[in-house]
Amino acid sequence: MITIFWIACLIIAVTMGLSLYRGVAGPGVFNRTAAVNVIGTKTIALLVIMGYYFERPHFFDIALLYAMMNFIGTLVFAKYLERGGLC
Amino acid sequence: MKFKGKRFGILLTFCIMAVFWVLLSGIFDAFHLISGLVCCAIVSLISHDLLVKGESEKKLLKSLRLLIYIPWELWQIVLANIDVAYRVLHPRMPIDPQIIEFETTLRGDFSLVTLANSITLTPGTITIEVEPDRGKFVVHAIGKEPADALLVDQTMQKKVAHVFMETAVRTEDLPTRK
């Protein structure tokens, strides 16, 4: 079973690498924001799987916090780009 | 502060916060449980307006109908993913993007949010903008069939209107295509 988790970790890491290309090369700031949001969502899944691979249950708390931080960060950045300010 | 008619909102906020406390703390001795419940009570008395707004009726029936609506929505999500996977993996990429606008007669906050998130998760469409005053939606569709499903059939608007017991979609004003 641990092998399957390892393979899943590897596939998610590869997809994160693919998205990173769009984050580096993508034209314009919106493509980069989208790529960062996508990498964040993949990171949640990766953290949950890694919790089983390393047998550390604390990873789930980190995943929960990461989900919230990713969501709020994306919302704030989108708002900033839309209005040119944060109020 | 008047609590009449807001009892459901306070109770709902309290329940959600208590569940969240137990979930995140994970400690079940008396001191932590009681202090958490007291904190939840104070927060839900002060700021229940943030979560449940307004004083509409028949909230239990609406919650029940929402529970029936969710499995249909999950099935639509699976269909949407298969559709997107087909469009991505097809060698010629059968896409024809367009922006459409339509108006609904939904006015409630929660129903508008539900409709917007449902549109984003169902096949081929993403909500761009919602104007709550007129119930106007601007939607980006990836092909012609998803756009027609929203403009002509209007199954989703009818379902959401049924869940939240608001009036169904007007048929006389025809939606426009940009």
């Binding site: 493509n31 989208a34 899944a45 | 997107v84 896409i95 993007p97």
Partner: protein
Amino acid sequence: MLIVHVAVTVLLGIGAFFLLVGSIGLLRFPDFYTRLHATGKCDTLGGGLIILGAMIYHLFQYPETLLVSAKLAFLIFFVFIANPTATHAIMKAAYKTGVKPWRLGEERR
């Protein structure tokens, strides 16, 4: 136990496939709006399925810590609420700023 392992493997496989499709769509599609179509849907279901697989594995492998399973269930719920909202926020920002949508026959950008 074998059935649980097979089910978890299938869930993880389907989830990883959808994450992969989302990334390929992010690379292949011609403009910003269509790229968000790929990622907003595939990441929601893919990530949700992977966490669901982990939740089922935990439920049968370590039945004494039910709280962790509940935490993972909440995580699935949160992903399904938060991801469409974030997608919608970025898309609205781009639309308000005046990013033109790609039409059929134009050059990709």
